[in-house]
Assembly symmetry: C2
Homo-oligomer: 381 residues x 2
Amino acid sequence: MWSTGLPREAVAHRAELSRTRANAAVASLMEQGLLEQAGPQASTGGRRAETLRLARTLGVVLAVDLGATGLDVAVLTPDLRILERHAEAMDVRRGPGLVLSRVRALLRELLARCGATPRQVLAIGLGVPGPVDFDHAQLVAPPLMPEWDGFSIRDDLRADYAAPVFVDNDVNLMALGELWRLQRSLKNFVVIKVGTGIGCGIVCQGQVYRGVNGSAGDVGHICVDPQGPRCHCGNLGCVEAMAAGPAIARMATEAAQAGKSPMLAQLLDERGVLTPADVAQASRAGDAASNAIVQRAGALIGQMLASVVNFFNPSHVFIGGGVTRTGPLFLASVRQSIYHRSLALSTRHLEIQYTPLGDEAGVVGAGALALQQAMLQGATA
Amino acid sequence: MWSTGLPREAVAHRAELSRTRANAAVASLMEQGLLEQAGPQASTGGRRAETLRLARTLGVVLAVDLGATGLDVAVLTPDLRILERHAEAMDVRRGPGLVLSRVRALLRELLARCGATPRQVLAIGLGVPGPVDFDHAQLVAPPLMPEWDGFSIRDDLRADYAAPVFVDNDVNLMALGELWRLQRSLKNFVVIKVGTGIGCGIVCQGQVYRGVNGSAGDVGHICVDPQGPRCHCGNLGCVEAMAAGPAIARMATEAAQAGKSPMLAQLLDERGVLTPADVAQASRAGDAASNAIVQRAGALIGQMLASVVNFFNPSHVFIGGGVTRTGPLFLASVRQSIYHRSLALSTRHLEIQYTPLGDEAGVVGAGALALQQAMLQGATA
């Protein structure tokens, strides 16, 4: 696993150097304070292997994953191990001023807990749930958070940090995080996030693909039923309007009110509203109406993903976002729907699974963006 | 335009050489017989510019574009100018033996007309209407032409030619042809072919993208209506089953039999069957029922393309295949449907048009494949 360092033996192999030259190079990098020993690896019976990693003294990376209904903030090592992390509920529609002042307070607190100072921050990465003008680190007409349109996130964070700030769409960052975790061993895959909205990160030929206007992967408004309900975008039957978090909550409320689920009815009584998390909980507890809702959402998302698979023929579809907490039933429904609607050749070796990085995919991806872009800037400066 | 050669002045600029060094390089290449003068360009008032091109004596490239219902064969110069070309109707389901023996006879005839011999053939490119195992130059379980499954096209053509043979999906080749024509100035676009089936060629980050199993762009079985008719693939409401050539012919026959179109009824009476070409002709002549069929097919294909545009965010959608002969009404319907169903950011700069290479896109693409792959083989040999 990339985040725990690299055995010394592997260095020569990876760098295509002789062992003698590799040892000399490692010694030089350790003398310069760029590499350090992470302690021996677990014994495999023979001589204990030493593990090398980027030196912790190099500095830290800050990562922020803004969702529509929550924020997730972390301090990471330069090899993207999480040192401190904090997640809390937050409505991004409260606007950039309020949300970012909370983000900055949390970053200060986490940095202090690590014993690090703002000057030790190497780079900052932010994921946001909307279309991004990547060069200007700004959101462009984001449907879920209109108050953020054109706001300079970079300028806001510059008040606290001299480090460079990079912003990208949250799902692109999940894709980048998985690409990093996999050490770029997969070349063509997609990451789908199902939360308040539905978005898709695309890795094509080993790179995150953003499209001509940065809006690639905007799959939430793919039509899955021309006779479906009207979406906030104005069209009928968008998958987001029929299967994302708010649609799941709406179906749950209807089931509770129609007397189809005593479990959901009781939760509705207690709290006044139902959330996708309630449906997930009830489904795991065996509630038939909740299972039907989960299966319906999974089937519709799978139908949309079948279009993606037919068009893009990826090796993997990774599914992330709040919906993953629903458990295996949702994943099984998505799988069934994709296999049913895609061509045999496209699905012969296709893997469909929840994101291996789990709920860390967002901050790890934001950290990977920050490091990657800071190094690119350094290389061209 | 790339196929008419390059003005001598442009050589220094393109190769990033001084004019003196560029002139020396050109003189050397002409001495070796690799470049030749194509004669002066049209005068622009000043000194007449000389135009350079790859020497015709280098050899020729053979290109074959197999469609479901026709074949198109050409001999091209090494800079992909068509020297001789012949197209005729052919049912590919008659099997590889019969079809390829006709292809080989036509290639012999066209070569003779050019005054060239089989030994002067540099490379051979073939496009086929189905999924291709690119490395083995074979079709893999092609739904439109099952008899070709696993047949070695390469071995068949080796009987006549020592030149290397390359096979790819016909729509990938249309994409490659456009990439070549555009001198790689566009990085991310799609080419959609609407004929007996519906397929899509994808250019991503400046390269034709084939997907993990070579089946990328298989958009014909994207669902546009969950309540639609059953497709030969077994699913309901595939865009191919509702809007490709056979569906257009079926709608036309129904309109004629229901008395909705005297023009189509007369054509049906005369010939016993109706083809998409009949609908195109009647539509251009103002027949209301034919216009409705064209608009319905365009709207459904546009709905599928809206999914592609939302996911891939390309700069251009080029439309080719027999349907382009229908004229502007079909294109207008596709456009309207894409703009209606795609997000504003994705369509802000999107261009939707018929393939600029027109009905030459297939053979030019096959020629481009042959040259490109032969040069890659040469480079690694």
